[in-house]
């Protein structure tokens, strides 16, 4: 099920973080962090090393008490409703936290029992999550004998055993090969379609850009941006910017377009036959621009809105320096 963004931000947030701060031995890990995660959304949580991502995740999943501020998960305060929150979340840390001497089935059954499921319920649920994660054929394999990708799937299956409404995933794709990464992302998309809220902390920005509805960027304990992914990729762009790709080079095109009324800038992107055009929307339109290009004998291969890449947005928002 695809969730429309305008609907998304009208409902009560699953995670509501208000002005939290946390320090470790004098180091301010978090300083007045606030953001919200909407239900049934896939929310990316991005930041450089040492930004405070893991601390925030630990606070959300009831492992750490915020020293100031308020955190609510499903409307429950993390300080007072620990049990209620734990029943409804599934946490996957940034490392393979599996018992290596167990089989896949035993491991999932172990956590099923830890969440208080009966033997019959567990059997049903385990078979379902194994199917979802495409691990049916490996349920009797020892975890120690599985590849990293497989182990990560087992971790994901474990997160799903108690059918949580909120998945908290810390760097789920780290250390995986490209195929395993793609497969993991497909599973996450499937989970999103199933209506789960997914809060995912990751460094792999390109994948987040494709997956996430919303994103929070954090740096040195402060939130730099929190909102929709589209908003991040287009914000700070005063004038619409488009990318034009031609079938063949047209002599004098750049100069002709630049002299058009309302056109702010025309430049080559560096790729063959590709131009970036920004214009004042109050003075001209895309229709006018396209007419002009055709008039100049330009054969158009593609013409699309130029979004800022997540990498660039990330670099613009975060500060340089080794942490």
């Amino acid at each position: 099920m695809t969730v429309k963004m305008n609907e998304l931000f009208l409902s009560e947030p699953v995670i509501d973080i208000q002005n939290i701060s946390h320090s470790f031995k004098g180091h301010r890990a978090l300083q007045g962090v606030s953001f919200q995660v909407q239900p049934k959304s896939l929310h990316g949580f991005v930041g450089p090393n040492g930004a405070g991502k893991t601390t925030t995740l630990k606070i959300i999943c009831t492992l750490l008490r915020p020293q100031a501020g308020k955190v609510e998960v499903f409307g429950n305060d993390v300080n007072s409703s620990v049990k209620e929150i734990r029943k409804r979340i599934g946490f996957m840390p940034d490392h393979f936290s599996t018992y290596r001497q167990m089989t896949v089935y035993e491991y999932l059954d172990f956590f099923g029992a830890a969440y208080g499921l009966s033997l019959e319920q567990r059997d049903q649920v385990i078979n379902d999550v194994l199917t979802l994660t495409d691990m049916d054929g490996r349920k009797d394999s020892l975890i120690s004998g599985l590849s990293r990708g497989m182990q990560q799937r087992v971790s994901l299956a474990r997160v799903l055993v108690n059918d949580p409404d909120l998945l908290l995933l810390d760097e789920p794709a780290s250390g995986l090969d490209p195929r395993a990464r793609i497969e993991l992302m497909e599973i996450l998309q499937e989970l999103k379609r199933m209506g789960k809220t997914i809060f995912i902390s990751s460094h792999i920005l390109s994948e987040l850009a494709e997956l996430c509805d919303s994103v929070t960027i954090i740096d040195r304990g402060k939130v730099k941006y929190s909102g929709t992914m589209d908003g991040l990729l287009t914000h700070e762009q005063e004038h619409p910017c488009y990318k034009l790709t031609l079938d063949s080079e047209v002599e004098g095109l750049v100069e002709s377009l630049a002299s058009e009324p309302g056109v702010m800038n025309v430049e080559k992107t560096g790729k063959p036959r590709e131009l970036r055009i920004s214009f004042d929307a109050t003075l001209t339109t895309t229709g006018n621009l396209l007419s002009k290009i055709i008039e100049l004998q330009g054969s158009i291969e593609s013409f699309q809105r130029d979004k800022k890449h997540l990498n660039q947005a990330f670099l613009d928002l975060t500060e340089q320096g080794v942490r």
Partner: protein
């Protein structure tokens, strides 16, 4: 062409020393050591001059007592601390995955071993150097011959080389620091005292064998004067303090020469240890993670299966083990069916492996010992106690620290299982292990009780009346067992929760229990030295601050100072019953905090709570 000056480059040694210098604990430990050491010497000095108020000059010529005490203290320091200092020398590199990087440099394996060895020796030498001015002071007081001085320094040096070499060997052989730590102390103990124990018990006629060897050595021209203690010399051939004791009374070049001759075995073992350390360095550099305990059990399985498959039993299976999935308590299920030290099958193996030899040795000892206190059984009980402490330390400290080290704890903590329930289930496997270890302990205790009971009929007028009080012995032993075992479990659990890494937790637990056992004795020593007229009765109960005291006193039936066995038992029960309750409450009352998660209880914090913050920019990871 410009010639380069010859340079001695010891990069690994430089790195070791730089690392040591950068650690704050180096200076703290050194200061504590110096204070303790100088404190002892001060007490001994005060004791020496206490009877000489009228003539302070009479102290001259009495440096011998201070000197000897100092030398024995230095020996003790070497045997106690040096294994701990050296056992991590190679394993640390293995655990950091940096040994491979060292091996691909131009450093040869022998250079690595020697530089590492030297690095740790320098650490120990810095400790021993603290005593040099005092040794000189004692020497200046007179009463210490030059030969004695040279012998002491020589024996201290070669003992240090030997113990450090053993530590390096164990470190080169083992994969983890914990296994190297245990191996160094165990091998070291048996190297120093193994022959002595066998000799004392005369097991398998070993004492007779040594005596006959000693007699034959008496025929040799030079050795005749030295092998006159019926084989005792051969038992302690590796033990430096023994030779210092033997030759400290003698003076002259002959004494120095004798010490040198009798230290040859120590030097040979040192050399052998280093050769083997070199041999194992590359061969065992990249060991896969292995569960040695599991492997041991598997090999035991094979032995038992082989024994079981005979014409009579035909592979009979008395108890069929079935691994079923957990019904309600998954953590307890994992502890008792997925861990070597919790599984019924393996626990049964431990029981049989311990119980059969114990029964055999009990019978053997009983037939050869006509006294109510059976030395062999006493030593056996202490050995089983040692093994029990070791196994409990490893298993109980690993309960939480193991999960933390394997990074599986966070996931467990986000489940709705409460902290107390989590610990209750976690401890299930250790409880099983404890019960299994209780059986051999009880076997020896019951054997000794029976022996005392039998003996009380045939020798009512025995000189040590307490040795015949079998009922007091039995009650004392049972109460001690019932308090100590759970107390140790809770203590080790608590350490496991407090210390972040599994290795550190195990080493801390073992170190703490050793210090706890010996510290009251060490502290009692200066008190008596400071004031010899001190009323001993008033502080003798202070010895029960060591958990080992009552076990020792009860076994050797030395209750003369107390007049009755019951009051010491009561005092001991109160002290350790209190400790048991304290450790238990420490574990359970702060369980969530110790585990690292929010408590189930409702605790509200004001939104306006201010946190202490620094203005420094953040350069640390979260």
């Amino acid at each position: 062409m410009k010639m380069r000056k010859f340079q001695v480059s010891l990069p690994l040694l430089a790195k070791e020393l730089a690392e040591m210098a950068n650690r704050r604990r180096t200076y703290i430990i050194r200061t504590i050591y110096a204070l303790l050491f100088l404190g002892f010497v001060g007490f001994i000095y005060l004791e020496s001059i206490s009877g000489l108020q009228n003539n302070p000059m009479a102290i001259l010529g009495r440096g011998r007592q201070i000197f000897e005490s100092m030398v024995y203290l230095q020996f003790t320091a070497i045997y106690l601390f040096l294994p701990a200092i050296t056992c991590s020398v190679i394993t640390q590199e293995k655990e950091r995955n940096s040994l491979g990087l060292l091996l691909i440099t131009r450093l040869s394996p022998s250079t690595i071993i020697l530089e590492k060895y030297l690095g740790r020796l320098i650490t120990m030498i810095t400790f021993l150097m603290l005593g040099l001015p005092i040794l000189a002071f004692a020497y200046s007081l007179g009463g210490v011959s030059l030969a004695m001085f040279i012998n002491a320094l020589w024996l201290l040096l070669i003992t240090m080389l030997q113990v450090a070499a053993l530590g390096v060997l164990c470190s080169s052989f083992c994969r983890t620091t914990v296994s190297a730590f245990i191996a160094t102390y165990v091998v070291g103990f048996f190297m120093l005292f193994g022959l002595g124990i066998l000799y004392g018990l005369n097991l398998f006629y070993f004492g007779d064998l040594l005596r006959s060897i000693s007699r034959s050595l008496q025929g040799a021209p030079y050795l005749a004067n030295y092998f006159n203690r019926g084989g005792e010399e051969l038992c302690f051939i590796m033990f430096g303090p023994y030779w210092f004791d033997r030759f400290s009374m003698r003076g002259g070049a002959a004494s120095v020469f004798s010490v040198f001759v009798f230290s040859i075995p120590i030097m040979i073992t040192t050399f052998m240890f280093l050769i083997f350390a070199h041999y194992f360095l590359v061969r065992r550099a990249f060991l896969p993670a292995r569960n040695y305990l599991l492997n041991l059990f598997k090999s035991l399985d094979r032995v038992f299966s082989k024994i079981n498959n005979n014409r009579v039993t035909r592979g009979i299976v008395l108890v069929k083990e079935q691994i079923q999935l957990p019904e309600f308590a998954p953590i307890a299920w994992r502890e008792t069916s997925k861990k070597s030290l919790g599984t019924f099958r393996y626990l049964f193996r431990i029981l049989v492996t311990l119980e059969v030899p114990i029964l055999f040795i009990c019978v053997l000892i009983a037939t050869g010992s006509p006294r109510p206190v059976v030395d062999g059984a006493v030593i056996l009980l202490w050995l089983v106690w040692g093994l029990t402490v070791l196994l409990l330390a490893v298993s109980a400290t690993s309960l939480i620290s193991g999960e933390r080290s394997h990074e599986t704890l966070d996931v467990l903590l986000t489940t709705p299982i409460s902290g107390k329930e989590l610990l209750r289930q976690k401890i299930a496997g250790v409880k099983r292990l404890c019960l299994v270890l209780l059986i051999p302990l009880l076997t020896i205790v019951l054997f000794e009780t029976w022996w005392k009971w039998e003996y009380s009929y045939i020798a009512s007028g025995y000189r040590n009346e307490y040795a015949l009080q079998w009922f007091a012995y039995l009650v004392g032993s049972l109460i001690t067992l019932s308090i100590y075992l759970p107390m140790l479990i809770w203590l080790f659990c608590w350490i496991g929760m407090k210390v972040k890494s599994q290795t550190k937790a195990i080493l801390t637990a073992l170190g703490l229990i050793i210090v706890w056992c010996i510290l009251p004795f060490i502290l009692a020593f200066p008190i008596f030295m400071l004031n010899p007229s001190f009323d001993e009765d008033s502080i003798i109960y202070g010895l029960f601050l060591s958990p080992a005291s009552f076990v020792v006193i009860n076994e050797i039936a030395e209750f003369h100072e107390f007049g009755t066995p019951w009051i010491p038992l009561l005092v001991n029960t109160i002290i350790y019953g209190g400790c048991l309750l304290l450790f238990r409450s420490q574990c359970l009352n702060h369980i969530d905090e110790n585990l690292g998660r929010l408590s189930d209880q409702d605790i509200h914090f004001s939104r306006d709570t201010k946190i202490p913050v620094s203005d420094q920019p953040i350069f640390s990871s979260e």
